[in-house]
Symmetry: C2
Subunit: 302 residues, 2 copies
Amino acid sequence: MRYLTSVRYIDAVARIGSIRGAAATLAITSTALNRRILAIEEELGVPIFERLPRGVRLNSAGELLIHYIRHQLSDLERVKSQIADLSGVRRGHVAIACSQALLPYFLPRQIAAYRSEHPQVTFGVHLRDRADAEVALVDHAADLAIVFEPVRLADVHTLLRAPQPVCAVVGERHRLADRAMLRLGECLSHPIALPTQHYGVRHLLEVAVQGTALRLEPAIESDSFEFLRHCVLAESMLTFQIPIGLPEDDDLGRARRIPLDPRDVPAGVLYMGQLKGRVLPVAAARFAGQLSSALASRYEVS
Amino acid sequence: MRYLTSVRYIDAVARIGSIRGAAATLAITSTALNRRILAIEEELGVPIFERLPRGVRLNSAGELLIHYIRHQLSDLERVKSQIADLSGVRRGHVAIACSQALLPYFLPRQIAAYRSEHPQVTFGVHLRDRADAEVALVDHAADLAIVFEPVRLADVHTLLRAPQPVCAVVGERHRLADRAMLRLGECLSHPIALPTQHYGVRHLLEVAVQGTALRLEPAIESDSFEFLRHCVLAESMLTFQIPIGLPEDDDLGRARRIPLDPRDVPAGVLYMGQLKGRVLPVAAARFAGQLSSALASRYEVS
DNA sequence: ATCTATGATGCAAAAAATGCAGCAGATCTC
DNA sequence: GAGATCTGCTGCATTTTTTGCATCATAGAT
């Protein structure tokens, strides 16, 4: 939509933080960009950027404006996809901000399933921690956020809550490999590999050992779930993860997953949310619907 | 905001129903306007107007787009007034669609009061019946609607309900002029002047006489409340009106207002509403607040 | 003190929007 | 049924706007 170039430019400058920098990524001259911004400020009667020696930054008027602009831009996308719907083709783009656990199995399959129905729809998947996922929603950089045990923020509207019991993951030759359920104490008497502090699984475990005689003494600590999973295969270790981050039972290969006794470690909750008050593009709304039923059928939903 | 000219043009064409007609009111050539529309349709990949022999009309894609456009335009007004607020001055415009009863006394005074605080704020007051007032909200032609006993529509969010007991209005020399309250039967034994069928007051009276032996036999019928008020002074008649359409007691001049017994005629309700889901411009929101407290103090609020 | 970023500006070239005159088509009027 | 009168649309010349180049002034980084 050509008539929105100016506001797109403003958005770019606000994100990048300098006119020349934004001009480069927008493939135009800094002159042209600078002049457009001056023109907008002229019409508005107020500057929207404060000029710093190293670039520009939105002032408070600019903050108000950029919210309007981003809303406007993403609403246009929605309207365009609604219009495309009228003519039969479902087009569109779905931007997702989510935590690491969704990346290896769950999302790729869900996206593949959706795209087999609607090949015209494109996807963007961005790894974000809980706080950043919510920021992405507010900035309209993401349509959907899927995070584990989030700090709840005022701007997010929860679409779905899916309980995720913490599971122990072991190699098939591990001494605990054939158990149906495990107490936390049993696990901690073996060498363990844990995700770092700010992950939800780790947080749940920390809370669980608090006030008990148990200690979390990880032999290996990593911020990569994938790395942790491979550790339990390479060495006879044990790690913890939530079901959605693991392949289905029939596809686990040489690994085994065993739920922890809920008396020891309460189930965490996986949240899917969108920006409060926003009307999602058709594609994003439908995809969210698909995820909801997928999660509802795999795990019980509250 | 210059960058929105194209969408403003589309809005005008949609409202007026022809390109040449819209071009005339916009003070540009039909050529320029026509080309802008063709350009937008080109970018969108879909026509938004269907060409009729007598002009143009939005097609379904256009309907989707025009909603977006009007939202966008009125949101911009809100953002601009928020920005103006930052620099101290309160500016803005409040557009009101309301029924006749509000016009003579209530709104002029409230607007005067508001403007004495914020002289930069301008007002538009448009007489609309209940249905049209709601259409005006949906079209973003009005920020606030104030109507009596409305048919409730899905797109309207009620900001305030103010009960309005129906009052009889008589000249000071009328035989009933000194009564504190009147039964409907007493009134109908005198010559009466009534508003026409589709007004709320008339509707309440019609409902009241149904199933009784009473009959509404107006000597005079008019769609002008002002005319009716003057009738009771010129001739010894009696008419009915709601308090908000009447001057305060100390300013009634040669007229008297006497509430009807609520056993005969239930109080009607005056509604103030806005478009559901819309964030009002600062000025409109503040003015709505002022009206709320004014109505709450004059009449009890439910 | 020098260097290297930044945003702003004068001027000429390029691009886009506008206006005029005129076309084709459909309805309305008589 | 023929003409009048609307409608939206298009080719071409003109005007307005936008862009790019070269350059300046400023302020932090080196």
